[in-house]
């Protein structure tokens, strides 16, 4: 928000004129043109390097996000140490499904936002709901220009002492819930998470972790674009912890029961 001439909040005062709080770009000083006049055709893309599901679960006293560490290049398991869950600040974590390049682009913008906030030094930090709202606006505006960021994001954190979990997809649909899963997880893992939460609405951290690990295991069995190397992020009032490189035990004997796999 501060000192960023290109943000939505800072239109210039008059044609070729200054953005308030910034230096005046005198006409003719920079010959670089803006993207609107460069003739680039933008339309709906297709993703290149992609990440699969991310799971999010609210427990008693916090939120947990889990996802694997794979960047698939189509059907090839190309990048096997991609961190798709990142810490934004001490109360917020962001996880992404979909195109990794678009995620990294937004990651850089969000990191710059956190730095700007630090520089402003006014005690205000980005809260999970604020990040969620901002992401919704960005994604919706991109979709409206037929140039979407091909991702589904999960924003998790502690908002005013209460756990918060929100989801936005590439067309700007946003909602928040106590259990969310993106990608294949929505079909495979979400029913398992719902079942678990129905049995015990206020889970402990260990129970939530066990449930998510079970879901991750099932996803590894069933999702062709999954890897057995995961990240689990936990956000509580104390702060954020992200564990990387978690590998799960699997038993492929079940494959024998699948007809046609002899």
């Amino acid at each position: 928000m501060y000192a960023n001439p290109n943000s939505i909040i800072n239109p210039s005062l008059w044609p070729n004129g200054p953005a308030p709080g910034c230096f005046f770009n005198f006409p003719g000083a920079n010959v670089t043109s803006t993207s609107s006049s460069s003739g680039i055709i933008t339309r709906t893309q297709s993703p290149v390097t992609t990440g699969t599901s991310i799971l999010g679960l609210v427990f008693d006293g916090g939120v947990m996000l889990a996802g694997d560490m794979l960047g698939s290049y189509g059907s090839m398991a190309k990048f096997r140490s991609i961190e798709r869950t990142i810490k934004v600040n001490n109360s917020t974590v962001l996880g992404a499904t979909g195109d990794i390049a678009d995620f990294q682009h937004l990651k850089a913008i969000i990191e710059q936002k956190v730095i700007d906030e630090d520089c402003a030094d006014d005690g205000f930090t980005l809260k999970p709901k604020a990040l969620h709202t901002w992401l919704t606006r960005v994604l919706y505006n991109r979709r409206s220009k037929f140039d979407p960021l091909w991702n589904t994001f999960l924003v998790a954190g502690i908002e005013d002492g209460e756990p918060y979990l929100g989801c936005v997809d590439k067309i700007g649909t946003a909602f928040s819930d106590s259990k969310i899963a993106t990608g294949y997880g929505a079909h495979i893992a979400l029913p398992l998470m719902r079942e678990g939460l129905e049995k015990k609405p206020q889970m402990t951290q260990e129970e939530a972790r066990a449930l998510l690990i079970n879901c991750l295991r099932v996803l590894f069995y069933r999702d062709c674009r999954a890897l057995n190397k995961h990240q689990i992020a936990t956000i509580t009032k104390e702060g954020v912890t992200i564990e990387n490189n978690i590998e799960l035990d699997t038993n492929w004997e079940v494959a024998n029961f699948v007809i046609g796999y002899e």
């Binding site: 909040i9 200054p18 308030p20 006014d122 005690g123």
Partner: protein
Amino acid sequence: MARRYDTRTTIFSPEGRLYQVEYAMEAIGHAGTCLGILASDGIVLAAERRNTNKLLDEVFFSEKIYQLNADMVCSVAGITSDANVLTNELRLISQRYLLQYGESIPCEQLVSWLCDVKQAYTQYGGKRPFGVSLLYAGWDHQYGFQLYQSDPSGNYGGWKATCIGNNSAAAVSMLKQEYKEGETKIDDALALAIRVMSKTMDATKLTPDKLELATLTRHDNKTYIKVLPVAQVKALIADHEKKEAAEAAKSKPSPAYTPKGVEYPTYTESPGSKPAVYPSAAYSEAPASESEYPYNNIPEKNGVSKGISFNSDFPKFDDFVQHVENIKFDQFKI
């Protein structure tokens, strides 16, 4: 000497001054007074209303006090049309932030953003500065109640109590003496605001149509911004006048508080002495009949209402003073 360097904002004078900015502040010095006082449980904004023409249609609820967003309110002093542009922009900035982040903009960020705009008009483009000073009163969860003042140069500061507009220097020095940090609640702040306004306003007498009062408070995690209704302002003014009259009765007030060198009348007569306009009918005529309560049908004489208690021989001094507006005493005219 000044003449050659004051036509354009974008140049300094040889003495290092920006004349257009200074002239803008001069314009504000002739505008209606606005003052703001920070209390421990809220903020009070008071403004002098200059347009009291009876022909004016009541389109706007308030002439100088504008709500900016759920948690902030501002009052303006200066060129009204410039002020409209700025308050509109302030509201837009707040709403853009709310749309982007889903929460209210922090007070200082809003003030700072607008001041960047005001500063740009003193440095680029060859356009004149905005001839408006603003007082912003707001609440956020980080710093609680805050009061800011900004001027045409784009400078802003946080204040405990301050004043802009006509006679603002006198008001600020009075606030400096009377404002008690940490001990002021909303009611004290309202009383102090009226006290200061009555001394600094042009009008000889404070009336509710010449004064706008607004308060910003918090209850149950929600901000309440209220422009006080006429009845409440009237009551506060009446309280103030009562207190003032009581003070004047006790001792001769110090010269610092007499406006324009006029002497306050001293009550050398005893409270019980009968002034000329006191209705004598009640005492000179015998009651119509014994059974009838004798004081029910006392006719109103010389504007003294029936509210005065007749239980003792003479009315109490306080009852008398309550209706001082109705009594015409030449010696009381200030």
